[in-house]
Amino acid sequence: MRVLGIESSCDETGVAVYDTAAGLLAHRVYSQIELHQDYGGVVPELASRDHVRKLLPLLRETLTAAGLGVRDLDGVAYTSGPGLVGALLVGAATARALAWSLDLPAIGVHHMEGHLLAPLLEPDAPQPPFVALLVSGGHTQLIAVRGIGEYELIGDTLDDAAGEAFDKTAKMLGLPYPGGPELARLAESGTPGRFRFARPMCDRPGLDFSFSGLKTQVLLAWEKSDRSDQTRADIARGFEQAVTETLATKCRRALAETGMRALVVAGGVGANLRLRAALHTAAVNDGFNVAFPRPEFCTDNGAMIAFAGALRLAAGQRQDTSIAVRPRWPLEELLATTPAEPLTLR
């Protein structure tokens, strides 16, 4: 079964074709980062406008790369939430209408399920059960994945997401948008240990996160400092260390509490090299497996949507011809719609 996947929940347009027998056939992502740079953040209306301009050309390019025409497709999957409503609607409407015109089944995919399953696109991917760390600009969650489609939220952030903390901290330090990756780059030239910030919520039991206090600590340190370039880099390093160590501590706890032996990491912050290193070290020390999607599948992409959609279509799930998006869609509510039988490709 060849499934077209379309992602348009925020500021990336993603298109991919996944074949349940042959794997990923082609994928393309167009990032709007430059478009939003002058605004200091994603402007929802501009994001929607760009999706509608870019989606079809990207779709044609992806099909060409896969050597396919629209008539070679067997199903269409699209991100139906959570995300920016206008942006979601462009992908959902185009995808649903395309499927309608070809009499193909269509399915709306939960964006976070896409991220959660993205590591499974890789060869030698761990199979459930595993713990997933979803860590992005909008999420910091620990999820116990008992089977595909069987998710239990076991840890969540009480305030800022980790990626959001990166972006906001970068802004405080005067770094250009999008600040997160910029801050990580700067941290590489920082002195480890010169600034040590508290590891939030690590001194008490539980799997929840909180990053807003850390942001305040950084602000105070920056305001009291000489504000030199080196200090900025040193603070960035201290901040990054606090975040990555906190994430690693909670992952180890989650594995211990669930008794699971594998960790998968997904979401934009999953591309952070220090986080990867910290989790690799923890994996060696504690004896668990850790898997990351390739960096391009950490950020938003169509491949993960095509993959998650293929699983659900193969299980017989369908979206009727109404075009529906859910800008706010807690992952827990996806659980209620999950079939009793775990989803598999066979």
């Binding site: 200091g40 929607s48 406008r49 959902a92 409407a93 395309l98 109404s322 075009i323 529906a324």
Partner: protein, 232 residues
């Protein structure tokens, strides 16, 4: 350039779809604010069933390309793009203001028409139209967005006005237009009119590939940069 023309419009509070071939026309029109996305494809299935035809008999897609509600305009364009890509047929993007104007011209082709849609934020989308035996419904000047007291208007003696922009700002229009010979401030663009306007263009070979069928928002400044906000 054969077969049926499918037309759709979701640019305002209404959702409408139509099928047109020669003198045959089938239409569904609903006032369904916030439910256009839910309704548009099922409504197309309904008109196809009523006409007794199948998708493969569609030869082109016409769509209301705005101006109107941003999200609604994009919905219509996205649906048209998706269908046209799947069926490999051309798209004819049609102005929602021209579709409104055609309603008046159908009643009295000698009037100059102001078609106007409430754009919120104290502004309207507006365009002036006249009927011309050779070219049909013709835009005079440009479509634009602005306050009702200052958007440019054509020179005319006898006016017909149509659309929600009229009923939203009567106090600003009346000094400029006086008492029009025809006025309806509660009319929305309809897919059947869009189909009528599209069909001659289709016949002249003006259908375009779906990726080139894009919204006309008119209001293009939608956010301030950091520099404009004075934060950088």
């Amino acid at each position: 350039m054969s077969g049926w023309l499918l037309s759709l419009d979701t640019s305002t509070e209404a959702v409408s779809v139509a099928l047109l071939r020669a003198a045959e026309c089938y239409e569904r029109f609903e006032l369904a604010p916030k439910r256009q996305a839910q309704r548009v494809l099922p409504m197309i299935d309904e008109v196809l069933a009523e006409a007794g035809i199948v998708k493969s008999m569609l030869g082109a897609i016409a769509v209301g390309r705005g101006p109107g509600a941003f999200t609604g305009v994009r919905l219509g364009i996205s649906v048209a793009q998706g269908i046209a890509l799947g069926l490999d047929v051309p798209v004819l993007p049609i102005s929602s203001l021209a579709a409104l104007a055609a309603d008046v011209i159908d009643i009295d082709p000698t009037l100059t028409v102001l078609a106007t849609i409430d754009a919120r934020m104290g502004e309207v989308y507006a365009g002036c139209y006249r009927f011309d035996a050779q070219h049909g419904v013709q835009l005079i000047g440009d479509e634009c967005v602005g306050p009702a007291h200052s958007v440019p208007l054509a020179r005319a003696e006898r006016w017909g006005v149509i659309g929600t922009g009229w009923s939203a700002y009567p106090e600003f229009w009346s000094p400029r237009i006086g008492a029009p010979e025809f006025a309806d401030g509660a009319r929305f663009p309809r897919a059947s009119r869009i189909a009528e306007l599209a069909v001659s263009r289709w016949q002249r070979g003006h259908g375009i590939a779906p990726e080139f069928a894009l919204p006309a928002y008119l209001r293009d400044k939608v956010a301030l940069t950091e520099v404009e906000r004075g934060v950088r």
